[in-house]
């Protein structure tokens, strides 16, 4: 495969979301809408998830993706959206994996 096409397929969150939906997969999108402190990914960063838990993109560089995927798959049952917040205190940040102590708000929505 052409290297550029391959990169586009694995890197382009929205193109991947569209292609999954075309294949009849269920898809949710997670978007960083606000960050405080040293959050690992800037606002606007996105993650697309399908119903089997495949994902492309990132909202935290690996720290909270697990929790986001779980919420996303639950949302896919009935559709809709949800605002998630991670890293309220340094201790909790450690728990969910935001070891940097940053704080992020992530909007999760299904695409129907």
């Amino acid at each position: 495969m052409n290297e550029m096409l391959e990169k586009a397929a694995t890197d382009d969150v929205l193109a991947q979301a569209e292609s999954w939906l075309s294949e009849g997969r269920k898809v949710a999108l997670a978007t960083v809408v606000q960050t405080w402190g040293s959050a690992p990914r800037p606002t606007g960063s996105q993650l697309a998830i399908d119903h089997e838990g495949q994902m492309v993109g990132s909202v935290s560089g690996g720290c909270v993706e697990g929790a986001v995927i779980q919420e996303a798959i639950e949302l896919m049952e009935n559709g809709g959206h949800k605002m998630l917040e991670f890293g309220v205190t340094n201790d909790e940040a450690w728990e969910v994996g935001l070891a940097c102590g940053g704080k992020i708000r992530i909007f999760v929505e299904t695409v129907n």
Binding site: L29, V33, T43, G44, H81, E109, V111
Partner: protein
């Protein structure tokens, strides 16, 4: 978000349009905004425009609640016409500032890889090269040749596009002459007024590198603020 909207968004991105996804944080409703193509203005449109200019997604608090504005800007590009000494300094500076840079010069001894390591070079005539590069609203065109045969076709192509920045090297006198030639070609004063010339901010630049800094500063101001009024 619905699938139809996602498809429209991806199509807009492929077409290199500047598009904003506005999502109501309470209702989850999403809509696409094309602030630079919209005729009217509203606080939401203005906020979307500002976010695109700053290259930064943002939250907008409207009468009807909070919207998240996610931006999709096509990549920044700079086409430099004239592989001259200033171009040797400007090209890497623009690349470091996040631009995809192309240096256009049909004179091969100027536009050589030896003089421009790692920079994309195009040895066609500027009008031909620009027709294919299709500069858009996220592109800047800078002419540096001092030679009307090369600069003018590039400026004509630039004026016929919606690039955010056009700059032309040359003294005030050279600029006045150029103005006359372009008027002769049928361009209006308003159109010709889009050309920044003498190019660059007036920072007393002397060396090629300093002139490149003044150009890069002017390009940045116009990209981020839309003008250089308060500089």
């Amino acid at each position: 978000m619905d699938f139809k909207l996602l498809k429209e968004l991806n199509a807009a991105r492929i077409d290199k349009r500047q598009v904003v996804v506005a999502t109501h944080e309470e209702t989850g409703e999403s809509t696409l905004l094309y602030p630079f193509e919209a005729a009217g203005s509203s606080p939401l449109i203005d906020a979307a425009k500002e976010a695109l200019r700053r290259d930064k997604p943002t939250e907008f608090e409207g009468d009807d609640g909070v919207w998240f504005l996610n931006i999709h800007n096509p990549p920044l590009r700079m086409m430099i016409v004239g592989a001259v000494h200033i171009a040797q300094k400007l090209a890497p500076m623009a690349a470091a500032s996040g631009y995809d840079v192309t240096v256009i010069d049909p004179r091969r001894s100027f536009g050589s890889a030896f003089r421009f390591p790692g920079i994309h070079l195009d040895d066609r005539w500027p009008d031909e090269a620009l027709a294919e590069l299709a500069p858009d609203r996220r592109s800047a065109i800078v002419t540096l040749t001092h030679d009307a045969k090369l600069d003018d076709p590039a400026l004509e192509a630039a004026l016929s596009s919606d690039v955010f920045y056009i700059g032309a090297l040359g003294s005030t006198r050279t600029n006045a002459k150029r103005h006359q030639r372009l008027t002769g070609k049928g361009f209006t004063d308003d159109q010709i007024g889009r050309i920044n010339g003498p190019v660059g901010l007036n920072i007393g630049a002397q060396s090629p590198a300093e002139i490149a800094i003044s150009i890069m500063a002017e390009v940045t101001a116009i990209l981020r603020k839309g003008n250089t009024d308060d500089i």
